[in-house]
Structures are given as C-alpha cells and as structure tokens.
Symmetry: D2
Subunit: 271 residues, 4 copies
C-alpha cells in the first residue's frame, strides 16, 4: 500500500495566494435564513430579533479572537464581513484558508452559543453559511465596501420596519404590504412610519439602523486582589489595573469620516 505512487495528485492543488498589500475581506451569509427558512422556523422576531443579532455578534467576536489579523468586522441581519489586515501573512494569504476558517469557526460557534441567547427556543438543525473573499487595494476601496454594507443595512431595515408595521399593526397581508411599499422612497417610508404608527425612524435602536461594528480596543481592567506580605499580619485588598485588547461592538455610522478619524489605528499600515 505504497502511498508514493498516488502522491502525484497533490500537484493538482492550485495556488490561491491573495495579492499582497490588499485588504482581504471575507463575508459570510446565513444559508436559507430568509422567508420560510431558518429564521421563521426558529420564530425570529420581525423585523429584528435581538437574540439572533447578538448571537451573530458573539460568533463574530469568537472568529476575531480565534483567528489572526482581523482588523475590523461589520455585521447586519444574517451576514458578517471580516477584514484582514493588508500586511497579513496568516497562512501565507491562501484564500481557501481565510474563507474556511472564518465560516467553520462562525458556524460551530453559532450552535455552541445558541442556547445562551435563545434559551427555551430549541435549535432544530445545524445551520449552514456561505462565504466569499474579496480583495481591496486601497483604504478608500475598503471604506467604500463597508459603507456599501451599512447603506444596505439602512435600506433593508427601513423597508422591513415599515413592512412589518403594516403587517403586524395594520393587518395587511405580506403581499399587500409589499404592494403598498412598491416604488416608495426613503422619505415616503419615514412618513408612513410617523403618520400611521407614530414612529420616528431615527429613534429606532442604533443596532438595527447601523448594524454592528467590531473593533479591537484597549481595555483597562481593574481587579481586586487579596495579598498578604510577610511583614503583614493580615491579608489586604489591592487594586490591580491590567490593560487588555478586546473585541468591542459599536453601533455607529462608518460611512462618514468621523469613525475613521476616531479610530485611525484600524487603517494604519503597520497596525
């Protein structure tokens, strides 16, 4: 059973190294999470289910902590984008490694942490996710990518907010709600929300309207420690401050310049 005569099959593996000096983005999406799919079967609240959004973010945090060189992540609905640093040399920049590590870690975390968020709601089957990888050469390209996802979040959330109001409060069928919204602009939808449901869209939770940004932040942790020195008669409590780098969720605008000015280290070449 000589292995060597078969080893030639390794030559069929193609090189999939990512071009150096580009941002590497891996975006994943839930498989069949929409209409009639996973979210309905698991009774997600519409238009937004806090448990589901928080579970997604917990999984994304796990991905950032377990894998290497992720500078920032952005999530909304059933999708999450992970941005690896331009200079990352993780797994020699092989595209398949980036994609499969991200989606497998995310998927296993989704099942692992499910019960922490969904309590009594049983997970019926193991969900699937798909992923893709895209390279962005310049910082502007990367910011535009993230802006694209956040603008998508806004457009979808505004639509879904009105849609589900019409269905849940006004008793329209989904079909009727859809027809009502056909061709309406953002202003029209804001107006419906305000005049018919007394909702000011701008007061809706930021997590729904802006999605979730995950970044690394230095955190000062103050711990209380009991110590007893030889000279002391008794234990004393002392406070110890430790600085750690942690993944922190934000729900803020990332389309304008302010975010990038506040956190310049994200795009810094040698961060």
């Amino acid at each position: 059973m000589a292995k060597s005569k078969f080893e030639y099959v390794r030559d069929f593996e193609a090189d999939d190294t990512c071009l150096p000096n580009c941002w590497i983005v891996v975006r994943l999406d839930g498989r069949n999470f929409g209409r009639g799919g996973f979210s309905e079967q698991h009774e997600f609240k519409k238009p937004n289910d806090d448990r589901a959004l928080q579970l997604m973010t917990k999984c994304a945090q796990t991905v950032m902590e377990e894998l290497e060189d992720i500078a920032i992540a952005y999530g909304q609905s059933d999708e999450y984008s992970f941005v690896f640093k331009k200079k990352s040399r993780w797994f020699k920049r092989r595209a398949s490694k980036f994609m499969t590590h991200v989606v497998s870690q995310f998927a296993s975390s989704y099942v692992f942490y499910w019960k922490d968020y969904f309590k009594d709601q049983q997970l019926l089957y193991p969900p699937g996710f798909d992923g893709r990888i895209v390279l962005y050469p310049s910082n502007q390209n990367l910011k535009d990518y993230l802006s694209w996802r956040q603008a998508d979040c806004h457009i979808n959330n505004l639509y879904n907010t009105v849609f589900w109001m019409l269905v849940q409060r006004s008793g329209l069928t989904p079909m009727q709600a859809q027809e009502r919204l056909q061709g309406t602009l953002a202003g029209d939808k804001n107006e419906i929300l305000f005049s018919e449901f007394n909702i000011n869209y701008n007061n809706e939770p930021l997590m729904y309207r802006k999605g979730t940004v995950l970044i690394w932040q230095k955190i000062n942790e103050v711990m209380t420690k009991k110590i007893k020195l030889p000279k002391d008669a008794e234990e004393k409590e002392v406070e110890v401050t430790r600085t750690r780098t942690k993944v922190v969720p934000l729900h803020c605008d990332i389309i304008g310049d302010q975010f990038w000015e506040e956190y310049p280290e994200i795009l810094a070449e040698d961060s």
Copy 2:
C-alpha cells in the same frame, strides 16, 4: 445614504468558477485536533476514538444530504473529503461556495450532534475546520486521490496502533515510543504488534484500518401502516415498501478495482 455610489466595490469580486467536466474535491481537516489540542482536551481514546470517528461520519452524512451533487465521501482521523460530480452545476461551480458550504455545514453539525456521541463529555469550545478544493480531470486521477487518502489512513493507523501500545502497555514515554519506531517498516510494526502485544493488525477494526466511505445506496424500507377502508369494520395493518436513496457508510478497500466494479454508478458520467 445612497447605496449606488458604493456598489462599484462588487467589481472587485473575482470569478472562481471551477473548470467544467472535472471532479471537484473538497477536503476538510480539524483545526488543532492533534497533540495538545482538541482531541486531548476532550479525552479522545488513543489511537482511535469510536465516538469521534462516528461523529465525523454523522457530520459528513449531513453534508451529503444537505448539499447537492456529492457522489462519494471519504474520511479518516479528523479529515473528510467530499467528491462533487463532474457535471455538477451547483452554484455555477463557484469554488468558494463549495468550500464554505461544506465546512460550515460540517462545523455546525459537529457541535449539534456532539452530545449524541460524547454523552457526558462536555464540548469545551466551538472547534474550527479548514478546507481546500482540488479538481481532478479523469476518473483515474480521482481514484488515485482517494487511494492516496486511504493509503495515508493505513500508514498513520498502523503507526498509531503500535505507538500507543508501546505507551499504554509497555509504559514507554511518547518520546521513547517515537524513537523505537524511527526507521521501522510496515513489516517491523506488524511484528512488534504480534510478538509483543499478541495483536494481528489485520484483525483490527476495518473502520480504523480503512477509514469510512460514504456512498448513496437505494434502500428498501418496509413500513407498517394502519388503514381502515370504508367497507372494513376494523383497521388493518398493511406493509408498505418504499425505495429511498440514503447515505451509507462502508469500511472497505477503495484502492483496488473491486470497489469500483461493485459500484460503477459512482463514476458513471451521468450519475
């Protein structure tokens, strides 16, 4: 918040269509499952843990049932290879779709089904898997790929069987066992097993020596149904036979011709 000015970023997505008329193989491996890693932390029995192997196979079955066009799968240790049909048009043959669907479905299944196999052994953290994709143009190339993996299974299992005997029964340290085996051939290892531990390697379980092959088989299911026709006074039991296609695990040699002659439909062009 016009989305359109950012949509140009979609042009950066590269096409990753697989060459038509080639077998598409996705192989996944557990991340850090070895020494000091996942398998030790979860107290896997050495050299083979039935629970772990059976969980791997359960996940692989789920992948075959949930995804499309998988003709055959082969697994051993913490790896599994999935072979998509030459003619598959699933997701337009996009490599990233094949890889990410396989590994995410496998990873979520691993956590989901863990407790069915590991009972009281708690899963400590969500595991990761990595994957790669390889194309094989001819049937011979594909058979050689699978032979390569099965020969690898044999070589590793023979080594591990002796290694752990030396450690568990003869009390050698891992380092000593490794030194003892340095430079030995298959015959030497068989001889150690036989003379020192009275083990005939060929009698070791097939699952350990050959790994696991998953194929689609037609199964006749006989179900008992209770029916009551209008003319009948009482319900009667009848037997109903239904033919279904099911994923079936085998532990057999796939290097020789016999397997391929027995299951010609696996390689059949239009299967």
Copy 3:
C-alpha cells in the same frame, strides 16, 4: 543601489499553473484584421486570400517547430489554435508562458515570412494578435473544441462566398448583400451559389471550406549521397533514407470520427 530592498515586489507575481492532465489550447486572432482593417489595407482577395492563409499556416508551423509539446493545430481565416499535450510539463505549465510564446513567435514570423507570400505587396505596419488559453479535461471536450472551430469555418466561409459573389459579380453593395442574406439558411445559400453563379459549394477548395489542420507526420526522406570506400576506385552514389518528424498541413474534416481513427497517436495519452 541595493537591489534586495526592492525584491519583495516579486511576491506579487501570481502562480498561473494550468491544471495537470488537461489539454491546453492557445487560440490567437489577428487584431483588427477585418472590415476596414489589416486585410483591406493589404488588399486581401475576398472571400479568401491564398497568400494570407498560407502565411498564417507558415507561422503556425514555425510555432509548432519552435515551441514544445504541440500535438495539433487548427487554423482558419485570421485565427489559429494550438493544442499542447495533456501531459506537457513545458515551463511547468504556466499559462502566461504558453500564451506569450505562441503569440510572439507567430507575430514575428508573420512579418519575417510576409514577403515570401505577398511578394510585391508591401507590409504597411507590424500587425498585432491576441491570444487566450483554455483547458479541456477530456479527449471528447478537445474534439468538440476543434469541431466548434471547424463548424465556424464552414459557416463563415459559406456566408462569405455568397456575400462576395453578390458584391463582386452581381454588383450589390455590401449593405444590399447583407440584407439579401439576412435570415437565409445553409440550403438557401447553396442554392443562390448554384442558381445565380453556377457554383457548387462542395467543389470549392478544401482549404477554404475545412481550414487547415497541422499534425506531426513521420516523413521518409530519400537523399542521394556520394561515397567513396577505400576499396573503391571511384565515388558511387547511394540512396539514404532518413525518417524525420515534420509538421504537415491537411485540409480535411475533423468533426467526424474518421480523422481521429486515422491518426490515433494525436490523442494517445503518452504521445
């Protein structure tokens, strides 16, 4: 002027190795050879110019002789396809090497041999060619590729033959000829040729109707040599037969089985 600090730029070169065990086809086309372009500026006879076709074939022969592992080539009009052997390891199967060697050798040969075919017709400027590379996993795929090009030759040549008869003999403007042929089938075009111009299309030269196939053939060359042995009083002439492998042009059907049965060595695995 240390070179080493810049050498990192080599890491940006992507691997473009062709999948093993596939036929590698490089097809080139003349750049702007059509209407108002190179062929008009150089007064090519319409619909077919023997000088131009023969020059193309001379260049293709040069490519086959100068480069390695080309099993067969097929040309028509201003295009030529070169088929490299499945098992070729030339330049480690790097796609860019195959493409650029083919088109550069072809282009330089085109200018170099121009005067041998075009005599008094001056070459006005250096022509350009573009190329592409395609992989075909199976022999059937390759035969279908070549059939596709030959069917294209047939369709274009039939059209062009009628078109130019209508323009040259019936005095139609190109626009009128085009309108006349709009929507006609092959049978209609044959009928116009026969009834209006007394031309039986099937008697048109094979080179126009079938294009040109280039294959390697063993050739017995008989040379006459003068020798004088010590025992001889005078020189004698002797005939020496030498077997060489040469590129030979054919103008035959390659869509049906006959050609492939006659020259089985072209597709033979280890040829």
Copy 4:
C-alpha cells in the same frame, strides 16, 4: 454541421480579469537572447549594442502608441516592462489580452523595424519573447518594481562592462574573466575599470547605466504652412504650433524621488 452542439466548449474559458485599482505591469523578455543565442548569432556588440537597444525602444514605443492606457515603460537589455494605468478598463482588464497584445505587437515590430537599425546585418530567424503580468496595488509598490528593474540594470551593466573589458582588452577567456570577478563588490569593479582600463564608470553612457524610460510628453510642433487668402496677391508662409502627446525616451534615475516629482502626472489617479 450545426455549430451549436459544440458551443458548450466556451464554458471552459476561465475569467482572468485583473483586480481593479491596481497597476498592471506586463514585462517581456527576449527568448534565448543570451549566450550562444540570438544576440551572438546576430553579432551584437558587447557589452551593449546601440542598435539592439534602440530597436527594443522603437518596439516599446510602438506598443505604447498602438495599445491603450500605458502610463510608463521601462527597458534594459532584452527586457521591457509596460505599466498600464490603475483605472484602465481596456479589454475589461483581462490579463490574457494585456499580455498577448503587448508581446505580439512587440515581436512583429521587432522584425518590422529590424532593418532600420541593423542595416546590413540580416535577421536570421523570427525571434520569440515571453511575457508575464503582475499587479501592484500601491504607487509605492509600483515605484519599487521599477526601481528593482533599474537596480538590476545597474548591477548587470557594471558587471558586463568589466567582464567584456577583461575579455576584449586584457585577452582573458570568458571563464577567466568570470573567475576574476567572482565575489567582487561594486567598488572593486569600479576600481578595475579605472585602474586597468582608465574608465570612469560614471562617464559611461546613461542609456547603458540607467536603461530607458518611456513616458508621454506634450510636444509643441511648429509647422510652416503656405496659405493664400482671397485678398492676397500671393501665398504667404505662416507658422502653426500644434500640441501633441508623444512617447519620449529618457535615460535617467527613477529610483530616487526626483523623477516622480518632476513627472507627477504618471502616478496621478485620473491620468
């Protein structure tokens, strides 16, 4: 002879679009131009043959003028690099188009313009060139690429200058000259040139030491035109100034900042 049943073979063509917003560099090299090859067979003067270098530059100019979006080119010895603009949309940025157009245009030009430079020296056979394509995301990466090539020019030219002095003037065999230079540094080579051959390397022609940079320059052409207005009795001569953009060769340093400061338009985003 239905073409349609074969058209499926087009699906085997892979997409080779270059990542947007990156500099696209195509570098070509003469095939077998070195020792015992093309340059010897055509009696190139050593270490530098002005005719050969000027012919290379003439071909490169033709490439820049015939193709689109080339911002700058750099050549030395038997190689030339062409840099396409970051924003180029030429042929949808398909890598094969860039490579094959460059090398075929260059190769046909080489034969076409040969006699303008080599006069009585006959071209013996059509030369080949190979090409490759590389992407550079940032301006710094591109400048470093060009610096790499110019540093290579310097190192090779210094070596070749001494080597050929030793052979041509000191009568060493090539082997002896090579051994003499083994392990010498730049300073040593300068010293040999100066002390043994009274040559100050820095006075050697810039074209040899720096290679050739091709850029687009606005040129004011002053033409003399004869005109005769109705009111005039006779024709008068007038001068007309026309501004054209032309490819201009420079032999200057491109490693330092000065060149890029002098010609900022080369790297300008929307140039």
